[in-house]
Symmetry: C2
Protein backbone atom coordinates (compact mmCIF):
# COMPACT_ATOMS: atom_id res chain seq x y z
CA UNK A 1 0.00 0.00 0.00
CA UNK A 2 1.31 3.45 -0.81
CA UNK A 3 -0.11 7.00 -0.58
CA UNK A 4 -0.46 9.22 -3.64
CA UNK A 5 3.02 10.46 -4.52
CA UNK A 6 4.34 13.94 -4.24
CA UNK A 7 6.52 15.32 -7.01
CA UNK A 8 9.53 17.55 -6.43
CA UNK A 9 11.74 19.45 -8.84
CA UNK A 10 15.29 20.38 -7.81
CA UNK A 11 17.22 22.63 -10.17
CA UNK A 12 20.66 22.15 -11.62
CA UNK A 13 23.16 24.81 -10.54
CA UNK A 14 26.25 26.61 -11.76
CA UNK A 15 28.92 26.86 -9.10
CA UNK A 16 32.10 28.95 -8.79
CA UNK A 17 31.00 31.60 -11.32
CA UNK A 18 34.66 32.17 -12.09
CA UNK A 19 36.02 34.01 -9.10
CA UNK A 20 33.99 32.23 -6.39
CA UNK A 21 35.63 28.81 -6.20
CA UNK A 22 33.73 26.71 -3.63
CA UNK A 23 31.78 29.74 -2.38
CA UNK A 24 29.40 30.93 -5.12
CA UNK A 25 26.62 29.21 -7.03
CA UNK A 26 23.32 29.91 -8.72
CA UNK A 27 20.21 27.86 -9.41
CA UNK A 28 19.00 27.28 -12.97
CA UNK A 29 15.39 27.23 -14.13
CA UNK A 30 16.34 24.22 -16.22
CA UNK A 31 17.51 21.46 -16.34
CA UNK A 32 16.95 19.67 -13.02
CA UNK A 33 15.93 16.50 -11.23
CA UNK A 34 12.42 15.26 -10.66
CA UNK A 35 11.55 12.92 -7.84
CA UNK A 36 8.27 11.26 -6.96
CA UNK A 37 8.08 10.02 -3.39
CA UNK A 38 5.34 7.94 -1.77
CA UNK A 39 4.75 6.74 1.79
CA UNK A 40 4.48 2.97 2.06
CA UNK A 41 3.98 0.57 4.95
CA UNK A 42 7.24 -1.29 4.27
CA UNK A 43 9.26 0.56 6.96
CA UNK A 44 12.19 1.12 4.63
CA UNK A 45 13.40 3.44 1.90
CA UNK A 46 13.35 2.03 -1.60
CA UNK A 47 14.31 3.28 -5.03
CA UNK A 48 11.65 1.83 -7.27
CA UNK A 49 12.70 3.42 -10.53
CA UNK A 50 15.41 5.57 -12.02
CA UNK A 51 15.01 7.03 -15.50
CA UNK A 52 17.35 9.18 -17.55
CA UNK A 53 20.61 7.81 -16.13
CA UNK A 54 21.31 5.08 -18.71
CA UNK A 55 21.59 2.63 -15.81
CA UNK A 56 24.58 4.39 -14.30
CA UNK A 57 23.26 5.63 -10.95
CA UNK A 58 23.23 3.27 -7.93
CA UNK A 59 19.89 1.61 -7.04
CA UNK A 60 21.20 0.74 -3.56
CA UNK A 61 19.74 3.21 -1.04
CA UNK A 62 23.05 3.38 0.84
CA UNK A 63 24.82 4.45 -2.35
CA UNK A 64 22.31 6.79 -3.96
CA UNK A 65 22.53 10.49 -3.15
CA UNK A 66 18.74 10.88 -2.96
CA UNK A 67 18.23 8.24 -0.30
CA UNK A 68 21.40 9.04 1.65
CA UNK A 69 20.16 12.62 2.06
CA UNK A 70 16.59 11.53 2.79
CA UNK A 71 17.77 9.00 5.38
CA UNK A 72 19.91 11.67 7.09
CA UNK A 73 16.83 13.85 7.44
CA UNK A 74 14.68 10.96 8.72
CA UNK A 75 17.32 10.13 11.31
CA UNK A 76 17.43 13.75 12.49
CA UNK A 77 13.65 13.73 12.87
CA UNK A 78 13.66 10.39 14.71
CA UNK A 79 11.56 8.91 11.90
CA UNK A 80 13.91 6.16 10.77
CA UNK A 81 11.11 3.59 10.57
CA UNK A 82 9.30 5.33 7.70
CA UNK A 83 8.63 3.47 4.50
CA UNK A 84 9.16 5.64 1.42
CA UNK A 85 9.42 4.72 -2.24
CA UNK A 86 11.36 7.01 -4.55
CA UNK A 87 11.12 7.32 -8.31
CA UNK A 88 14.08 9.31 -9.59
CA UNK A 89 13.76 10.98 -12.97
CA UNK A 90 17.14 12.31 -13.94
CA UNK A 91 16.24 15.09 -16.32
CA UNK A 92 19.75 16.48 -16.46
CA UNK A 93 23.21 15.13 -17.29
CA UNK A 94 25.44 13.97 -14.47
CA UNK A 95 29.19 14.45 -14.02
CA UNK A 96 28.54 17.54 -16.11
CA UNK A 97 29.53 20.31 -13.68
CA UNK A 98 25.88 21.27 -13.24
CA UNK A 99 25.37 20.02 -9.72
CA UNK A 100 23.57 16.80 -10.58
CA UNK A 101 24.36 15.09 -7.28
CA UNK A 102 23.41 18.24 -5.38
CA UNK A 103 20.05 18.39 -7.18
CA UNK A 104 19.39 14.74 -6.31
CA UNK A 105 20.27 15.25 -2.66
CA UNK A 106 18.12 18.37 -2.48
CA UNK A 107 15.19 16.66 -4.21
CA UNK A 108 15.45 13.82 -1.72
CA UNK A 109 15.24 16.00 1.39
CA UNK A 110 12.60 18.32 -0.01
CA UNK A 111 10.40 15.37 -1.04
CA UNK A 112 10.86 13.79 2.37
CA UNK A 113 10.05 17.05 4.17
CA UNK A 114 6.91 17.47 2.06
CA UNK A 115 5.76 13.90 2.72
CA UNK A 116 6.16 14.51 6.46
CA UNK A 117 4.17 17.78 6.16
CA UNK A 118 7.13 20.14 6.46
CA UNK A 119 8.55 19.56 9.93
CA UNK A 120 11.54 21.72 8.93
CA UNK A 121 11.92 25.05 7.19
CA UNK A 122 13.55 24.75 3.80
CA UNK A 123 16.73 26.48 4.97
CA UNK A 124 17.13 23.86 7.68
CA UNK A 125 17.17 21.01 5.17
CA UNK A 126 20.60 22.11 3.97
CA UNK A 127 22.80 19.98 6.28
CA UNK A 128 20.92 16.81 5.31
CA UNK A 129 21.14 17.49 1.60
CA UNK A 130 24.84 18.12 2.20
CA UNK A 131 25.29 14.57 3.45
CA UNK A 132 24.06 13.20 0.15
CA UNK A 133 26.26 15.61 -1.79
CA UNK A 134 29.28 14.73 0.31
CA UNK A 135 28.87 11.06 -0.54
CA UNK A 136 28.82 11.84 -4.25
CA UNK A 137 31.52 14.49 -4.48
CA UNK A 138 33.76 13.37 -1.61
CA UNK A 139 33.94 16.96 -0.42
CA UNK A 140 31.87 19.20 1.85
CA UNK A 141 30.99 22.21 -0.21
CA UNK A 142 27.59 23.83 -0.47
CA UNK A 143 27.99 25.90 -3.61
CA UNK A 144 25.67 23.61 -5.60
CA UNK A 145 23.42 22.29 -2.83
CA UNK A 146 22.52 25.68 -1.34
CA UNK A 147 21.39 27.30 -4.61
CA UNK A 148 19.54 24.15 -5.72
CA UNK A 149 17.67 24.15 -2.41
CA UNK A 150 17.06 27.87 -1.97
CA UNK A 151 17.27 29.35 -5.46
CA UNK A 152 18.96 32.55 -6.59
CA UNK A 153 22.64 33.35 -6.29
CA UNK A 154 24.13 32.05 -3.07
CA UNK A 155 27.35 33.00 -1.31
CA UNK A 156 28.74 30.32 0.96
CA UNK A 157 30.81 32.35 3.41
CA UNK A 158 31.91 29.24 5.20
CA UNK A 159 31.31 25.70 4.07
CA UNK A 160 31.99 24.07 7.46
CA UNK A 161 29.29 26.00 9.30
CA UNK A 162 27.05 26.37 6.22
CA UNK A 163 27.07 30.15 6.63
CA UNK A 164 25.16 31.00 3.45
CA UNK A 165 23.73 34.23 2.08
CA UNK A 166 21.61 35.26 -0.85
CA UNK A 167 23.13 37.81 -3.23
CA UNK A 168 20.57 39.72 -5.29
CA UNK A 169 20.30 38.77 -8.97
CA UNK A 170 19.70 41.72 -11.29
CA UNK A 171 16.66 41.39 -13.56
CA UNK A 172 17.43 39.98 -16.96
CA UNK A 173 20.38 37.72 -16.17
CA UNK A 174 20.20 34.66 -18.41
CA UNK A 175 22.57 31.82 -19.08
CA UNK A 176 23.50 29.63 -22.00
CA UNK A 177 24.89 26.33 -20.74
CA UNK A 178 26.80 24.05 -23.03
CA UNK A 179 27.39 20.48 -21.92
CA UNK A 180 29.92 18.72 -24.15
CA UNK A 181 29.50 14.95 -24.05
CA UNK A 182 32.75 14.14 -22.33
CA UNK A 183 33.05 12.83 -18.79
CA UNK A 184 34.84 14.52 -15.88
CA UNK A 185 34.26 13.20 -12.37
CA UNK A 186 34.15 15.98 -9.78
CA UNK A 187 36.26 14.04 -7.30
CA UNK A 188 38.98 13.37 -9.92
CA UNK A 189 38.89 16.95 -11.10
CA UNK A 190 39.48 18.26 -7.57
CA UNK A 191 42.67 16.21 -7.29
CA UNK A 192 44.23 18.13 -10.15
CA UNK A 193 43.74 21.54 -8.53
CA UNK A 194 46.77 23.56 -7.45
CA UNK A 195 47.58 23.29 -3.73
CA UNK A 196 49.02 26.80 -3.65
CA UNK A 197 48.16 30.08 -5.26
CA UNK A 198 50.36 33.13 -5.87
CA UNK A 199 49.58 36.02 -3.52
CA UNK A 200 49.12 38.29 -6.54
CA UNK A 201 46.46 35.89 -7.85
CA UNK A 202 44.71 36.02 -4.48
CA UNK A 203 44.53 39.81 -4.79
CA UNK A 204 43.11 39.50 -8.31
CA UNK A 205 40.60 36.85 -7.28
CA UNK A 206 39.38 38.71 -4.17
CA UNK A 207 39.10 41.91 -6.19
CA UNK A 208 36.97 40.15 -8.77
CA UNK A 209 34.83 38.43 -6.18
CA UNK A 210 34.18 41.70 -4.38
CA UNK A 211 33.48 43.40 -7.70
CA UNK A 212 31.08 40.66 -8.77
CA UNK A 213 29.02 41.01 -5.59
CA UNK A 214 29.10 44.79 -5.94
CA UNK A 215 28.02 44.46 -9.59
CA UNK A 216 25.15 42.14 -8.65
CA UNK A 217 23.95 44.57 -5.96
CA UNK A 218 24.22 47.55 -8.28
CA UNK A 219 22.95 45.80 -11.44
CA UNK A 220 26.19 47.02 -13.02
CA UNK A 221 26.53 44.62 -15.94
CA UNK A 222 29.82 46.07 -17.14
CA UNK A 223 31.35 45.53 -13.73
CA UNK A 224 29.93 42.01 -13.58
CA UNK A 225 31.52 41.35 -16.95
CA UNK A 226 34.96 42.55 -15.83
CA UNK A 227 34.77 40.31 -12.76
CA UNK A 228 33.75 37.12 -14.58
CA UNK A 229 37.22 35.65 -14.68
CA UNK A 230 39.16 33.09 -12.72
CA UNK A 231 42.94 33.30 -12.47
CA UNK A 232 43.23 30.41 -9.99
CA UNK A 233 41.22 27.34 -10.97
CA UNK A 234 40.17 27.78 -14.58
CA UNK A 235 43.71 27.79 -16.01
CA UNK A 236 43.98 24.19 -14.73
CA UNK A 237 40.49 22.92 -15.50
CA UNK A 238 40.28 24.44 -18.95
CA UNK A 239 42.89 21.94 -20.15
CA UNK A 240 40.31 19.16 -19.74
CA UNK A 241 37.73 20.83 -21.95
CA UNK A 242 38.09 20.41 -25.70
CA UNK A 243 37.89 23.67 -27.66
CA UNK A 244 37.60 25.66 -24.44
CA UNK A 245 39.10 28.81 -25.93
CA UNK A 246 36.99 28.63 -29.08
CA UNK A 247 33.79 28.17 -27.08
CA UNK A 248 34.67 31.08 -24.84
CA UNK A 249 35.51 33.34 -27.74
CA UNK A 250 32.28 32.40 -29.50
CA UNK A 251 30.24 33.42 -26.45
CA UNK A 252 32.16 36.61 -25.71
CA UNK A 253 32.15 37.55 -29.38
CA UNK A 254 28.36 37.25 -29.37
CA UNK A 255 28.05 39.58 -26.39
CA UNK A 256 28.09 37.42 -23.26
CA UNK A 257 29.12 39.18 -20.03
CA UNK A 258 31.41 36.24 -19.38
CA UNK A 259 31.95 32.62 -20.35
CA UNK A 260 33.45 30.19 -17.87
CA UNK A 261 33.49 26.60 -16.72
CA UNK A 262 30.50 25.55 -14.63
CA UNK A 263 31.74 23.88 -11.45
CA UNK A 264 34.36 21.31 -12.30
CA UNK A 265 33.18 21.12 -15.91
CA UNK A 266 32.97 20.03 -18.62
CA UNK A 267 29.90 22.27 -18.96
CA UNK A 268 30.54 25.89 -19.76
CA UNK A 269 28.16 28.73 -19.16
CA UNK A 270 27.78 32.12 -20.76
CA UNK A 271 26.17 34.75 -18.56
CA UNK A 272 24.13 37.31 -20.48
CA UNK A 273 22.05 40.37 -19.64
CA UNK A 274 18.99 39.14 -21.53
CA UNK A 275 17.43 35.93 -22.79
CA UNK A 276 17.71 36.62 -26.52
CA UNK A 277 21.41 37.18 -26.17
CA UNK A 278 21.72 33.98 -24.15
CA UNK A 279 20.06 32.10 -27.01
CA UNK A 280 22.44 33.65 -29.53
CA UNK A 281 25.44 32.82 -27.34
CA UNK A 282 24.21 29.26 -26.93
CA UNK A 283 23.96 28.79 -30.68
CA UNK A 284 27.45 30.23 -31.17
CA UNK A 285 28.95 27.97 -28.49
CA UNK A 286 27.19 24.90 -29.84
CA UNK A 287 28.35 25.59 -33.36
CA UNK A 288 31.98 25.32 -32.21
CA UNK A 289 31.45 21.75 -31.04
CA UNK A 290 29.35 20.93 -34.09
CA UNK A 291 32.22 22.05 -36.29
CA UNK A 292 34.49 19.62 -34.47
CA UNK A 293 31.83 16.91 -34.54
CA UNK A 294 31.53 16.72 -30.75
CA UNK A 295 28.08 16.09 -29.31
CA UNK A 296 26.62 18.34 -26.65
CA UNK A 297 23.49 19.56 -24.88
CA UNK A 298 22.52 23.19 -24.77
CA UNK A 299 20.31 24.80 -22.13
CA UNK A 300 19.06 28.37 -22.07
CA UNK A 301 17.91 29.33 -18.59
CA UNK A 302 17.17 32.17 -16.23
CA UNK A 303 18.08 32.01 -12.56
CA UNK A 304 15.65 29.90 -10.55
CA UNK A 305 14.35 32.22 -7.86
CA UNK A 306 12.76 29.62 -5.57
CA UNK A 307 14.99 26.58 -5.65
CA UNK A 308 13.64 23.08 -5.18
CA UNK A 309 9.88 22.82 -4.89
CA UNK A 310 6.89 20.52 -4.86
CA UNK A 311 4.81 20.95 -7.99
Amino acid sequence: MSTPGIKVFAPASVSNLGCGFDILGLALERPGDEIIARMTDRKELRITEITGDKGQLPRNIHENTVTIAAAALLKHLGEEGRGIDFEIHKRMPFASGLGSSAASAVAGVVAMNELLRRPLEKRDLLPFAMQGEQHASQAWHADNVAPSLLGGIILVRDNASLDIHRIPAPRGLYLAILHPHILIQTADSRKRLPKNVALSDLVTQTGNLGGLIQGLYQSDFKLISRCLQDVVIEPHRSKDIPYYTEIREAALGTGALGCLISGSGPSMFALCDNSLLAEACGIAMKSVLKKHQLRCDLYISGIHAEGAMKY
Copy 2:
Protein backbone atom coordinates in the same frame (compact mmCIF):
# COMPACT_ATOMS: atom_id res chain seq x y z
CA MET B 1 53.57 87.71 -3.84
CA SER B 2 51.10 84.97 -3.01
CA THR B 3 47.29 84.65 -3.07
CA PRO B 4 45.34 83.83 0.07
CA GLY B 5 45.88 80.14 0.80
CA ILE B 6 43.35 77.36 0.57
CA LYS B 7 43.29 74.73 3.26
CA VAL B 8 42.64 71.04 2.59
CA PHE B 9 42.09 68.11 4.95
CA ALA B 10 42.81 64.56 3.75
CA PRO B 11 41.82 61.74 6.08
CA ALA B 12 43.89 58.84 7.31
CA SER B 13 42.59 55.44 6.20
CA VAL B 14 42.44 51.84 7.30
CA SER B 15 43.27 49.43 4.51
CA ASN B 16 42.85 45.67 4.09
CA LEU B 17 40.14 45.34 6.77
CA GLY B 18 41.34 41.80 7.34
CA CYS B 19 40.13 39.85 4.35
CA GLY B 20 40.64 42.57 1.71
CA PHE B 21 44.42 42.68 1.29
CA ASP B 22 45.29 45.41 -1.23
CA ILE B 23 41.63 45.80 -2.27
CA LEU B 24 39.65 47.30 0.65
CA GLY B 25 40.04 50.48 2.65
CA LEU B 26 38.01 53.04 4.55
CA ALA B 27 38.48 56.71 5.33
CA LEU B 28 38.65 57.93 8.94
CA GLU B 29 37.12 61.13 10.31
CA ARG B 30 40.35 61.59 12.24
CA PRO B 31 43.34 61.81 12.17
CA GLY B 32 44.49 63.23 8.84
CA ASP B 33 46.75 65.65 6.99
CA GLU B 34 46.23 69.36 6.57
CA ILE B 35 47.75 71.29 3.71
CA ILE B 36 47.70 74.99 2.96
CA ALA B 37 48.50 75.87 -0.64
CA ARG B 38 49.02 79.29 -2.19
CA MET B 39 49.62 80.50 -5.73
CA THR B 40 52.82 82.47 -6.14
CA ASP B 41 54.57 84.11 -9.08
CA ARG B 42 57.74 82.03 -8.64
CA LYS B 43 56.85 79.49 -11.39
CA GLU B 44 57.81 76.53 -9.21
CA LEU B 45 56.45 74.33 -6.46
CA ARG B 46 57.88 74.89 -3.00
CA ILE B 47 57.42 73.34 0.39
CA THR B 48 57.64 76.30 2.73
CA GLU B 49 56.89 74.53 5.98
CA ILE B 50 56.29 71.07 7.39
CA THR B 51 55.01 70.64 10.93
CA GLY B 52 54.28 67.51 12.94
CA ASP B 53 56.89 65.29 11.27
CA LYS B 54 59.81 65.84 13.70
CA GLY B 55 61.92 66.78 10.71
CA GLN B 56 61.62 63.37 9.09
CA LEU B 57 59.73 64.11 5.87
CA PRO B 58 61.65 65.31 2.78
CA ARG B 59 61.56 69.06 2.01
CA ASN B 60 62.71 68.41 -1.56
CA ILE B 61 59.71 68.68 -3.91
CA HIS B 62 60.95 65.73 -5.96
CA GLU B 63 60.98 63.55 -2.84
CA ASN B 64 57.86 64.66 -0.99
CA THR B 65 54.62 62.81 -1.67
CA VAL B 66 52.54 66.00 -1.64
CA THR B 67 54.51 67.77 -4.36
CA ILE B 68 55.12 64.63 -6.45
CA ALA B 69 51.34 64.12 -6.65
CA ALA B 70 50.65 67.82 -7.22
CA ALA B 71 53.28 68.00 -9.97
CA ALA B 72 51.79 64.94 -11.70
CA LEU B 73 48.42 66.71 -11.78
CA LEU B 74 49.95 69.97 -13.06
CA LYS B 75 51.72 68.10 -15.82
CA HIS B 76 48.49 66.39 -16.88
CA LEU B 77 46.77 69.78 -17.05
CA GLY B 78 49.63 71.36 -19.00
CA GLU B 79 50.16 73.81 -16.13
CA GLU B 80 53.76 72.94 -15.24
CA GLY B 81 54.77 76.58 -14.99
CA ARG B 82 52.58 77.31 -11.96
CA GLY B 83 54.13 78.64 -8.77
CA ILE B 84 52.60 77.06 -5.67
CA ASP B 85 53.75 77.12 -2.05
CA PHE B 86 52.72 74.28 0.23
CA GLU B 87 52.56 74.22 3.99
CA ILE B 88 52.21 70.64 5.18
CA HIS B 89 50.77 70.04 8.63
CA LYS B 90 51.18 66.39 9.45
CA ARG B 91 48.43 65.84 11.97
CA MET B 92 48.81 62.07 11.98
CA PRO B 93 51.62 59.57 12.56
CA PHE B 94 53.51 58.22 9.57
CA ALA B 95 54.75 54.68 8.94
CA SER B 96 51.82 53.78 11.16
CA GLY B 97 49.66 51.72 8.79
CA LEU B 98 47.12 54.54 8.60
CA GLY B 99 47.81 55.69 5.06
CA SER B 100 49.91 58.72 5.92
CA SER B 101 51.60 58.92 2.52
CA ALA B 102 48.25 58.40 0.79
CA ALA B 103 46.71 61.27 2.78
CA SER B 104 49.59 63.53 1.82
CA ALA B 105 49.33 62.65 -1.85
CA VAL B 106 45.57 63.14 -1.79
CA ALA B 107 45.86 66.47 0.04
CA GLY B 108 48.37 67.62 -2.57
CA VAL B 109 46.15 66.92 -5.58
CA VAL B 110 42.97 68.17 -3.95
CA ALA B 111 44.66 71.43 -2.91
CA MET B 112 46.07 71.87 -6.39
CA ASN B 113 42.71 71.18 -8.03
CA GLU B 114 41.02 73.70 -5.73
CA LEU B 115 43.64 76.36 -6.47
CA LEU B 116 43.06 75.86 -10.20
CA ARG B 117 39.28 76.14 -9.66
CA ARG B 118 38.51 72.44 -10.04
CA PRO B 119 39.47 71.57 -13.62
CA LEU B 120 38.95 67.88 -12.69
CA GLU B 121 36.25 65.96 -10.85
CA LYS B 122 37.45 64.54 -7.57
CA ARG B 123 37.30 60.96 -8.86
CA ASP B 124 39.65 61.88 -11.69
CA LEU B 125 42.34 63.07 -9.29
CA LEU B 126 42.99 59.47 -8.25
CA PRO B 127 45.75 58.55 -10.76
CA PHE B 128 47.79 61.64 -9.80
CA ALA B 129 47.49 61.01 -6.07
CA MET B 130 48.58 57.46 -6.86
CA GLN B 131 51.86 58.73 -8.27
CA GLY B 132 52.71 60.32 -4.94
CA GLU B 133 51.67 57.20 -3.06
CA GLN B 134 53.70 54.98 -5.35
CA HIS B 135 56.83 57.00 -4.63
CA ALA B 136 56.33 56.55 -0.89
CA SER B 137 55.20 52.95 -0.71
CA GLN B 138 57.06 51.56 -3.74
CA ALA B 139 53.88 49.80 -4.82
CA TRP B 140 50.82 50.70 -6.88
CA HIS B 141 47.84 50.03 -4.66
CA ALA B 142 44.89 52.32 -4.15
CA ASP B 143 43.41 50.90 -0.95
CA ASN B 144 44.51 53.94 1.07
CA VAL B 145 44.50 56.63 -1.62
CA ALA B 146 41.00 55.95 -2.92
CA PRO B 147 39.22 56.09 0.47
CA SER B 148 41.26 59.13 1.56
CA LEU B 149 40.23 60.91 -1.64
CA LEU B 150 36.60 59.77 -1.90
CA GLY B 151 35.59 58.79 1.62
CA GLY B 152 33.57 55.80 2.78
CA ILE B 153 34.50 52.17 2.29
CA ILE B 154 36.16 51.54 -1.06
CA LEU B 155 36.65 48.30 -2.96
CA VAL B 156 39.55 48.37 -5.41
CA ARG B 157 38.53 45.69 -7.88
CA ASP B 158 41.69 46.19 -9.85
CA ASN B 159 44.64 48.30 -8.83
CA ALA B 160 46.20 48.55 -12.29
CA SER B 161 43.14 50.13 -13.91
CA LEU B 162 41.97 51.86 -10.69
CA ASP B 163 38.60 50.13 -10.97
CA ILE B 164 37.17 51.34 -7.65
CA HIS B 165 33.73 51.07 -6.09
CA ARG B 166 32.02 52.40 -3.00
CA ILE B 167 30.59 49.80 -0.63
CA PRO B 168 27.84 51.13 1.65
CA ALA B 169 28.78 51.67 5.30
CA PRO B 170 26.01 50.79 7.75
CA ARG B 171 25.07 53.55 10.19
CA GLY B 172 26.87 53.40 13.47
CA LEU B 173 30.17 51.84 12.42
CA TYR B 174 32.94 53.31 14.56
CA LEU B 175 36.58 52.47 14.99
CA ALA B 176 39.12 52.55 17.77
CA ILE B 177 42.61 52.85 16.31
CA LEU B 178 45.64 52.13 18.43
CA HIS B 179 49.02 53.26 17.13
CA PRO B 180 51.87 51.74 19.15
CA HIS B 181 55.02 53.81 18.93
CA ILE B 182 57.10 51.35 16.99
CA LEU B 183 58.22 51.79 13.41
CA ILE B 184 57.34 49.53 10.47
CA GLN B 185 58.05 50.78 6.95
CA THR B 186 55.39 49.70 4.46
CA ALA B 187 57.93 48.78 1.81
CA ASP B 188 59.89 46.58 4.26
CA SER B 189 56.73 45.00 5.56
CA ARG B 190 55.63 43.98 2.06
CA LYS B 191 58.88 42.10 1.53
CA ARG B 192 58.03 39.74 4.37
CA LEU B 193 54.69 38.68 2.90
CA PRO B 194 54.21 35.10 1.71
CA LYS B 195 54.61 34.64 -2.05
CA ASN B 196 52.11 31.76 -2.08
CA VAL B 197 48.90 30.98 -0.31
CA ALA B 198 47.23 27.60 0.28
CA LEU B 199 44.16 27.06 -1.92
CA SER B 200 42.11 26.35 1.21
CA ASP B 201 43.11 29.76 2.58
CA LEU B 202 42.01 31.36 -0.67
CA VAL B 203 38.57 29.79 -0.22
CA THR B 204 38.41 31.07 3.38
CA GLN B 205 39.57 34.54 2.37
CA THR B 206 37.20 34.89 -0.59
CA GLY B 207 34.32 33.62 1.56
CA ASN B 208 35.08 36.22 4.20
CA LEU B 209 35.51 39.00 1.66
CA GLY B 210 32.18 38.15 0.03
CA GLY B 211 30.55 37.88 3.44
CA LEU B 212 31.96 41.23 4.54
CA ILE B 213 30.54 43.02 1.51
CA GLN B 214 27.22 41.21 1.98
CA GLY B 215 27.24 42.19 5.68
CA LEU B 216 27.94 45.83 4.83
CA TYR B 217 25.10 45.89 2.30
CA GLN B 218 22.69 44.20 4.71
CA SER B 219 23.88 46.02 7.86
CA ASP B 220 24.34 42.53 9.30
CA PHE B 221 26.79 43.22 12.11
CA LYS B 222 27.07 39.59 13.17
CA LEU B 223 28.05 38.60 9.65
CA ILE B 224 30.52 41.47 9.46
CA SER B 225 32.02 40.24 12.71
CA ARG B 226 32.45 36.67 11.44
CA CYS B 227 34.17 37.97 8.31
CA LEU B 228 36.66 40.27 10.06
CA GLN B 229 39.55 37.85 9.92
CA ASP B 230 42.58 37.36 7.75
CA VAL B 231 44.10 33.91 7.30
CA VAL B 232 46.65 35.05 4.70
CA ILE B 233 48.53 38.20 5.68
CA GLU B 234 47.86 38.82 9.35
CA PRO B 235 49.55 35.62 10.59
CA HIS B 236 52.81 37.06 9.15
CA ARG B 237 52.39 40.71 10.08
CA SER B 238 51.15 40.08 13.59
CA LYS B 239 54.63 38.87 14.55
CA ASP B 240 55.93 42.43 14.16
CA ILE B 241 53.41 43.91 16.60
CA PRO B 242 54.17 43.65 20.30
CA TYR B 243 51.28 42.27 22.40
CA TYR B 244 49.19 41.75 19.26
CA THR B 245 47.16 38.92 20.79
CA GLU B 246 46.56 40.77 24.05
CA ILE B 247 45.39 43.91 22.22
CA ARG B 248 43.07 41.87 20.03
CA GLU B 249 41.61 39.98 22.97
CA ALA B 250 41.08 43.23 24.87
CA ALA B 251 39.07 44.68 21.98
CA LEU B 252 37.07 41.54 21.24
CA GLY B 253 36.42 41.00 24.95
CA THR B 254 34.98 44.51 25.14
CA GLY B 255 32.60 43.82 22.26
CA ALA B 256 34.35 44.87 19.05
CA LEU B 257 33.06 43.27 15.84
CA GLY B 258 36.68 42.57 14.96
CA CYS B 259 40.19 43.72 15.76
CA LEU B 260 42.89 43.58 13.11
CA ILE B 261 46.04 45.23 11.83
CA SER B 262 45.50 48.43 9.88
CA GLY B 263 47.34 48.22 6.57
CA SER B 264 50.88 47.00 7.17
CA GLY B 265 50.71 48.03 10.84
CA PRO B 266 51.75 48.60 13.51
CA SER B 267 48.40 50.31 14.11
CA MET B 268 45.51 48.07 15.00
CA PHE B 269 41.86 48.91 14.65
CA ALA B 270 38.77 47.64 16.39
CA LEU B 271 35.57 47.96 14.38
CA CYS B 272 32.48 48.53 16.51
CA ASP B 273 28.77 49.02 15.90
CA ASN B 274 28.60 52.25 17.92
CA SER B 275 30.82 55.06 19.13
CA LEU B 276 30.56 54.37 22.86
CA LEU B 277 31.70 50.82 22.34
CA ALA B 278 34.58 52.07 20.18
CA GLU B 279 35.66 54.30 23.05
CA ALA B 280 35.52 51.41 25.50
CA CYS B 281 37.48 49.19 23.10
CA GLY B 282 40.06 51.91 22.63
CA ILE B 283 40.59 52.23 26.38
CA ALA B 284 40.91 48.45 26.72
CA MET B 285 43.44 48.24 23.88
CA LYS B 286 45.47 51.15 25.20
CA SER B 287 45.59 49.70 28.69
CA VAL B 288 47.40 46.62 27.32
CA LEU B 289 50.27 48.76 26.05
CA LYS B 290 50.24 50.91 29.17
CA LYS B 291 50.67 47.78 31.27
CA HIS B 292 53.75 46.92 29.21
CA GLN B 293 54.98 50.55 29.34
CA LEU B 294 54.77 50.99 25.57
CA ARG B 295 53.68 54.42 24.29
CA CYS B 296 50.85 54.75 21.82
CA ASP B 297 48.24 57.05 20.28
CA LEU B 298 44.56 56.25 20.37
CA TYR B 299 41.98 57.58 17.92
CA ILE B 300 38.23 57.08 18.05
CA SER B 301 36.66 57.76 14.68
CA GLY B 302 33.67 57.22 12.48
CA ILE B 303 34.00 56.61 8.75
CA HIS B 304 34.65 59.80 6.80
CA ALA B 305 31.84 60.01 4.29
CA GLU B 306 33.30 62.68 2.00
CA GLY B 307 37.03 62.08 1.85
CA ALA B 308 39.51 64.90 1.32
CA MET B 309 38.03 68.38 1.22
CA LYS B 310 38.71 72.09 1.27
CA TYR B 311 37.55 73.65 4.54
